[in-house]
């Protein structure tokens, strides 16, 4: 009964998040548009240059993840900072179990990230003429990457929101935490781009999944502390 009600409460939070974002409309597609403009700036300024054939897979997957990452951070922090700003945080804190809040917000961030990826990745491949051999591998890497990134940034967003409210601090805390993740994600993407075999992405995928797992476990343990202070 505990578990099933945790699920229903998490879904309530997710539902609230979705309606309220859909209603203010801006925030949701803002992230997408930000990534889009960045994409154009990068493609316009760097795209035309002939990068050595050997460096292409790595360089292009690095650029792709840098764009995705910055697109994401500008949006993901909102999820808690918004509550503090609008002074609804105390209301929510007194009404909901910490884990329900965490999973609800995590779900929202995950949806945001997956949406961002499915918008940016095809466009990037087209604009930068980035050919991907193993599409299935890429999809796997992207999906697992989104989970890991959502977990760590949801957690950091919660910490930030309580720290005298500055959205910019979010970046400072996440970027170094996310760099190892970025490195393995870039590895995975590169592997998917160069080889059609699914086996090629397995090592990177293993690292991504274990990072995601470790972050999630730490988050489940730490979030109640952070949330209730």
């Amino acid at each position: 009964m505990r578990a099933s009600s945790l699920l229903s409460e998490s879904l309530a939070v997710l539902g609230k998040e979705l309606t309220s974002e859909l209603r203010s409309r801006v925030a949701l597609n803002a992230v997408g548009l930000f990534a889009l403009t960045t994409l154009i700036a990068v493609a316009y300024q760097i795209g035309p240059y002939k990068i050595e054939e050997a460096d292409r897979p790595h360089l292009l997957s690095a650029l792709l993840w840098i764009i995705l990452f910055f697109g994401a951070t500008s949006g993901l922090a909102r999820v808690f900072v918004k509550e503090e700003d609008a002074r609804t945080a105390k209301t929510l804190r007194l009404a909901a179990r910490p884990l329900a809040v965490f999973f609800g917000k995590l779900g929202f961030n995950l949806i945001l990230l997956l949406g961002l990826e499915s918008l940016v990745v095809p466009l990037y491949c087209a604009l930068m003429s980035y050919t991907v051999e193993g599409v299935a591998g890429l999809v796997l890497v992207m999906a697992c990457g989104a989970v890991a990134m959502a977990a760590s940034s949801t957690m950091v967003a919660a910490i930030i929101a309580r720290a005298s409210g500055s959205g910019t601090l979010f970046a400072i805390l996440t970027v170094p935490l996310a760099l190892p993740l970025l490195v393995v994600l870039i590895q995975g993407t590169k592997a998917a781009a160069t080889s059609a075999a699914l086996a090629a992405v397995i090592p990177a995928l293993r690292a991504i999944v274990s990072l995601a797992g470790v972050t999630l476990v730490a988050a489940v343990y730490l979030f109640p502390v952070v949330w209730h202070d």
């Binding site: 760590s152 950091v156 805390l173 970027v175 170094p176 972050t215 988050a219 730490l222 202070d229």
Partner: protein, 226 residues
């Protein structure tokens, strides 16, 4: 409490030990083969500094977890002291490492994975202090920064062990190599072990000083309260 003892003996022993180690590093140990000139002597400082930095972050983790369990502000002071020293020793390791790198690899900074890992580590703990600065309330600062420290530590193994192995690296392997043996001239090995012990002692001395200072501050505030 130890505060009574004005002049504990062991810091003096530590100073003596460090003086011997410094002397030995330059005059006792031979110049290593495979390194340019006398450059290898920096290893006696570089490696212990890197080791102490890792140790300090482990101490920080333990203190943070203890704070989360017991909610004693002294544990928070311990965590902060350890992180501060960890930051200082990582900077020292980076400086000596990049001096070394200038001699061995020809440039101060090569984007070697080892160098990047330590740069990220520096950023993580700089962020830790930025976070602490941002929170005025004692209890809240303690619990949030402890949480961040735990979260940061979780990614540390990836930084120190996974990332340098994914990429091809210029940096020497760990001391205990894949064959499980130790490849080092025995006098060098002695000095290195001595330096490790000395730097570890130095760390604990500075650490206890810092913690004691924080305790005095906490106690003064408690007195003001009552």
């Amino acid at each position: 409490m130890t505060e009574r003892k004005r002049f504990p003996w062991w810091p003096w022993a530590l100073f003596a030990w460090m003086a011997v180690v410094i002397w030995a590093a330059f005059f006792y140990a031979p110049a290593a083969k495979g390194f340019k000139g006398e450059s290898a002597r920096i290893v006696f400082f570089h490696v212990p500094q890197a080791w102490v930095a890792v140790l300090a972050f482990c101490v920080n983790l333990v203190a943070s977890l203890r704070y989360l369990r017991r909610r004693d502000l002294v544990d928070d002071a311990r965590a902060a002291a350890a992180a501060r020293l960890g930051l200082v020793f990582s900077i020292l390791a980076t400086v000596t490492g990049s001096l070394f790198a200038k001699v061995m690899w020809g440039s101060f900074w090569n984007w070697d994975p080892r160098e990047v890992s330590i740069a990220i580590l520096l950023l993580v703990y700089a962020a830790y202090f930025a976070l602490r600065e941002a929170i005025p309330d004692d209890e809240r600062r303690a619990s949030l920064s402890s949480s961040y420290a735990v979260l940061a530590f979780v990614t540390m193994p990836f930084l120190v062990f996974v990332v340098p192995r994914i990429y091809w690296s210029l940096h020497p392997d760990t001391l205990i190599n894949s064959r499980g043996s130790i490849d080092m001239e025995s006098r060098m090995f002695q000095v290195l072990m001595g330096a490790l012990a000395g730097f570890t002692g130095l760390f604990f001395w500075l650490y206890t000083l810092d913690v004691r200072l924080a305790k005095v501050g906490l106690r003064r505030r408690q007195r003001e309260e009552s």
